[in-house]
């Protein structure tokens, strides 16, 4: 619904509720970006201003863009409150710390008061009003060899703002992760870079990071104060608090644990391509008749679960996001992985997997992203001669035709004879020469609709050669 329509609706309401109703929006800074937030914020404020019964509570960090919008607004149209100025906060923090540490003391059979008053005072002042500091500290103590010592070390780390919190995160890492720093960085790299798309479970993280699953499980357990399991989505692993991911990519993080997001994305992009090359195959879900639409396959969810691994599902959806994260990367390994992927039949199998998952619409921006990335990225000399261009796309061939083209030749085929491999011949007997079919001409007018459910490679059709036409012109 458009925002203006919402305002119109509010204006047209014959009467409002007897008591005011409230919208609560938490962590507004974690939504969208500094371009999309201001418009939404202004709209919300005008909504609240136009209906006297509608109130809106917004919590956020004091980010520049949000601050600016509020600065522009008339002072009388809103209230603002800086939590750092909260007089009762340090008292609250103390209560909170006492209850959290009390549980630790119980666990360790420390006789109260633990920690001593003076140590507690010091810790409270280190926290700089941040509850997350005390929370993390209490969680870290659970797995600690000597809690009192850990508290003492922590209490000595003075600093303003987020500094003591970041020091605490460092200390947790130092005490828990002793060996395998490069493997640790790979695991955390995957964890942080997949987070914007979907949290992954330990096994999938291990697969994509190229690390043993036992190691990932151990670290997740050891870093209980920093990582947690998201019981909602796929039981994936996430950082407990956004400040932890921010710390891990900042210079405050010790070098051996620090994550470079660009490198981590490139590595994950390559891992996704490798996963697809090794796992994608013809008719992956073993569907008996290629003419069946997805909706007609009763046990499709089961077949997907059984045949398409979580790492493959993730890779097919998000490989291009990671690969193209660095706008103009000059990385030979990326190009080589791309080449490997696009030289085989993988792109066709990829579209099939997307179709089975009902995700073909996601494939189009994916291809577009790679195309435009390839245009601006410097091509390594060894690959330059093979690069035909960036003619990739998934599009219906022509209205009324029951076919559409998947054209993906980014690179010159290894030899001219490759052009005559079965995929490009009009050979109906070859199992790979399948065609994507649409159920009816009418649906072609609305490509996104039939893409979602009904593309399938079928043995009874052949690859019409339309793909080759496109490529040979290039």
């Amino acid at each position: 619904m458009k925002g203006s329509l919402f305002l119109e609706l509010l204006d047209n309401l014959p009467y409002g509720p007897s008591n005011s109703l409230v919208f609560v929006i938490d962590a507004f800074d974690e939504c969208g970006n500094n371009r999309s937030r201001p418009a939404l914020l202004r709209l919300l404020n005008s909504a609240a201003a136009s209906a006297s019964w509608l109130k809106i509570i917004i919590t956020s960090r004091p980010e520049g863009d949000i601050q600016r919008v509020f600065d522009e607004l008339s002072q009388s149209s809103y209230l603002r409150y800086d939590l750092a100025k909260d007089q009762e906060a340090s008292h609250d923090l103390r209560t909170f710390a006492q209850s959290e540490f009390g549980l630790v003391a119980q666990d360790w059979y420390f006789s109260p008061p633990w920690p001593e008053e003076s140590l507690l005072d010091k810790l409270i002042s280190r926290a700089n009003g941040l509850f997350i500091f005390i929370k993390t500290l209490a969680l870290a103590l659970e797995h600690c060899a000597d809690p009192t010592e850990f508290l003492k070390t922590t209490s000595e780390e003075a600093g303003a703002g987020l500094k003591p919190l970041y020091r605490l995160y460092s200390n947790v890492l130092k005490s828990r992760i002793v060996h395998s720093n490069s493997e640790f960085q790979r695991v955390i790299g995957v964890l942080l870079t997949v987070a914007p798309h979907r949290a992954l479970c330990e096994e999938t993280i291990a697969e994509l990071a190229g690390v043993g699953p036992n190691l990932v499980k151990k670290w997740v357990k050891d870093l209980n104060s920093l990582l947690s399991r998201d019981e909602g989505t796929n039981r994936g692993i996430r950082v407990r608090h956004l400040s932890i991911s921010e710390f891990l990519v900042s210079d405050d993080c010790p070098y051996i644990y620090q994550i470079n997001l660009q490198d981590a994305n490139v590595e994950l992009g390559i891992a996704c391509l490798k996963t697809m090359v090794s796992q994608l195959r013809f008719n992956i879900c073993g569907i008996e008749d290629s003419r069946l639409a997805n909706a007609d396959i009763e046990d499709l969810p089961f077949r997907i679960r059984e045949n398409i691994s979580d790492s493959l599902q993730y890779s097919t959806l998000y490989w291009s996001n990671h690969l193209c994260f660095t706008p103009d990367g000059n990385n030979r390994r990326v190009w080589e992985s791309l080449k490997e992927f696009f030289e085989g039949l993988c792109p066709l199998f990829w579209v099939e997997v997307l179709s089975l998952m009902g995700m073909v619409p996601k494939g189009v921006p994916c291809i577009r992203k790679v195309s435009s990335w390839a245009k601006v990225s410097p091509t390594p000399a060894c690959i330059q001669s093979d690069l035909i261009g960036c003619r990739m796309g998934i599009r219906p061939f022509m209205k009324g035709f029951r076919t559409f083209v998947v054209s993906w030749l980014l690179f010159k085929p290894p030899s001219l004879s490759a052009l005559h491999t079965p995929i490009f011949q009009r050979d109906p007997s070859c199992p790979h020469t399948r065609l994507y079919q649409t159920p009816s001409g009418r649906d072609l007018l609305n490509p996104s609709r039939w893409w979602e459910g009904n593309c399938r490679l079928g043995p009874h059709r052949h690859w019409s050669g339309l793909g080759i036409l496109r490529v040979s012109r290039a």
Partner: protein
């Protein structure tokens, strides 16, 4: 974090209860609470929601999360809130249906 920020919580709830009847005036109907990461904004927001929910005054809530694609999408904030509002205030839902019936072909 029960029992914390009692005073702030009370202030906010009082502000909610305080309605201005004059329609033409600008209302201070937006409340912006800000602070550093980890200071307890989300926890306060949860407490506010719990109280408002009990008082039947919570029209809708949206807890943004940077690392969740659904919860960091600005385009889903308003529809979520509007949907919740329609659920909680039937006259709004009725009007919404009328307008949709007339605008959709």
């Amino acid at each position: 974090m029960e029992g914390t920020r009692k005073f702030r919580l009370k202030e906010v709830i009082n502000w909610v209860a305080n309605t201005s009847e004059e329609k033409d005036l600008l209302h201070d109907n937006t409340y912006w609470i800000y602070g550093l990461p980890g200071i307890g904004k989300t926890s306060l927001a949860h407490s506010i929601c719990a109280i408002l929910h009990d008082q039947r005054q919570l029209a809708g809530a949206f807890f943004c999360r940077r690392d969740d694609p659904n919860l960091s999408e600005p385009r889903s904030v308003l529809p979520t809130l509007i949907y919740k509002l329609a659920e909680n205030f039937p006259p709004f839902e009725k009007l919404w249906q009328i307008i949709f019936a007339t605008t959709q072909i």
